[in-house]
Symmetry: C2
């Protein structure tokens, strides 16, 4: 379905504000009008939705540039692999429902059938690019609505299994890298500001996950009582403010703590290039420091794309998928170190 | 007196067992027969000894290949510099007595006047080489005895200020590097064995000092009731046993924990080559790991001599002497990092 040695186009290091904003994501939650959803959906209902969505994707040509898998192919390992690539949610991986999953070949568009709702559709883009992500999501969304019909009430909007998604059913989010604000200890203040305008801040893998490598996900809290445009604008504008704060923090670092930053960045790159044993967590933290070094121009010999790619490939299931074998944790740490060394080899 | 950018010949990485034994040292404690010593020595007595010893060194030609300095030149900074080079003792640096110091240009022979005794004479050699060190010390010792006359009682031997040095007045010691025994947790057992045959184990800078970088000093405890030959043999034989244990530990590491050892060694070298801020303590620990890597053949591109040299030059007073300026601690850490990077530059 996906090439294990390539990562999504949304990680290619292009697009606006790429030094701070890794990626943009728009996610839509939808349910079919004539099929029970949430806890009322029986297995037969679930299977109907999988079939219906697959049919639309086929008809609309989406399967020409992507693949669709169902429960049988969604093994635990495969689920972990997709989770590490931000293409499915933890709930989807653990779900006991009949599931289906579409992922476009470039990984910018994906659709979970029977996660919490019938349909969870997401579009990803590189850098800060809400309009592009929204457009891609909306295009598939309209086709599905035309062909299948959504549960919708004029006074609320789209109906969802959980009321927190009611209305637009939309979550617009950005994955931001904020080492400057963390190092200058301003991160709390800036994130509180985002929360005060109705946004939510989470770690790298969503709710409750660690903020490893100083990566944060920022998204809208409310889905009801606001238009799609309002949500996209709020998230975009607040992200721009966060980006500005991060740039100021980085300027401060470069002006007042240049040697300390260089020390951290060069040590991190040196460890990545020399370690013989490397855990996933250490790799992510070191790569995050290198990413900062590239953004600051301290490191000129590497591209953000290479670092982004490794940030995905060092994770356990992606590493094993790429190497084509199941490994014990200690073997993984050695093979991970070798992969990173080979990729970051001195020019 | 000494070139700040060169270190002693006894650190040139030559000689027997150099992978484990950094250096050999023989130290003799002596007092003049006709001058009060210890707490009875008045300033006039102290000055007499300084003058007398200097005269002998001059007459015997030692000043042609070395220098003699007295109190005025022995500033606190200079004392620290010499201490870091293992050429004087902490007590000598702090002493309130009228002092004199001879150091040969290659730093293999040195003599403190009015440390605890009138004369503290030491000979250093590279690797495990008791006969060479003893011979060099004994040669100067005989000349001093002939010209000045020592306090000596046939039933005891040489008289010293502190009874722990009575008899031969000799301390024979080796500086050993035992990372293998530390990593395999056998160090306690092996060092207990050395203590049980009458030896003493100390840290890098003598009594009470830290065992930084897994360096240990092993020397004889008793000086009375044993001949010089017996002492030299005991220390040499026990050192050979320690060396054997260390080699076995290293074999074990290479066979069973090769990747872990390589990881430690390559990470250490990479950090030394990339850090922009480096404390003296971190530098010593990382250099010690690299020294192990060179001894094991894991690192082939560096010589032990280069590592030995840096182990001295990274220390605060030596660093400042070499750079020719007094620096604040944070400036030292940056300049130290630069010196280490430049010295260990990738081939």
């Amino acid at each position: 379905m996906l090439a294990a040695d390539r990562v999504g186009r949304w990680l290619d290091g292009s697009g606006p504000e790429i030094g701070v904003v890794v990626s943009t994501r728009v996610r839509l939650a939808r349910n079919l009008d004539d099929v029970p959803f949430g806890i009322k959906a029986r297995p037969a209902d679930q299977a109907r939705v999988v079939g219906a969505v697959r049919w639309v994707l086929q008809e609309a040509g989406y399967l020409d540039s992507g693949g669709f898998v169902d429960d049988e192919q969604l093994t635990e390992e495969r689920g972990g692999f997709l989770l590490e690539r931000h293409l499915v949610s933890p709930d989807f991986v653990k779900s006991g429902l009949k599931r289906g999953l579409y992922v476009s070949r470039d990984e910018t568009l994906s659709l979970m059938v029977n996660e919490e709702d019938h349909i969870r559709l997401q579009a990803l883009d590189s850098g800060l690019n809400m309009p592009a992500a929204y457009e891609a999501a909306a295009k598939l969304d309209e086709r599905l609505e035309d062909d299948l019909g959504y549960a919708y009430l004029p006074e609320y909007g789209y109906l969802t299994a959980c009321p927190t998604n009611l209305g637009t059913g939309m979550r617009a989010s950005v994955l931001v890298h904020l080492p400057g604000l963390v190092l200058t200890r301003e991160i709390e203040k800036v994130l509180r500001g985002a929360v005060s305008v109705g946004l939510v801040v989470r770690g790298l893998y969503g709710e409750g996950s660690e903020t490893r490598g100083n990566f944060f996900q920022v998204s809208n809290q409310r889905t009801l009582g606001l238009s799609e445009t309002e949500i996209l604008e709020t998230v975009t504008n607040t992200t721009r403010q966060i980006v500005e704060h991060e740039h100021k923090a980085r300027e401060y670092l470069v002006e007042h703590l240049r040697v300390e930053v260089e020390d951290k960045v060069f040590r991190s790159l040196a460890l990545l290039r020399s370690a013989r044993i490397l855990s996933s967590g250490e790799a992510i933290n070191l790569l995050a420091n290198v990413r900062l070094g590239v953004a600051l121009g301290v490191i000129n010999e590497l591209k953000t794309e290479v670092v982004n790619r490794l940030l995905v490939l060092v994770r356990p299931e992606n590493l094993q998928a790429m190497l084509g074998e199941r490994l014990k944790p200690e073997e993984r740490d050695e093979r991970r170190a070798a992969l990173v060394r080979d990729t970051l080899v001195q020019p």
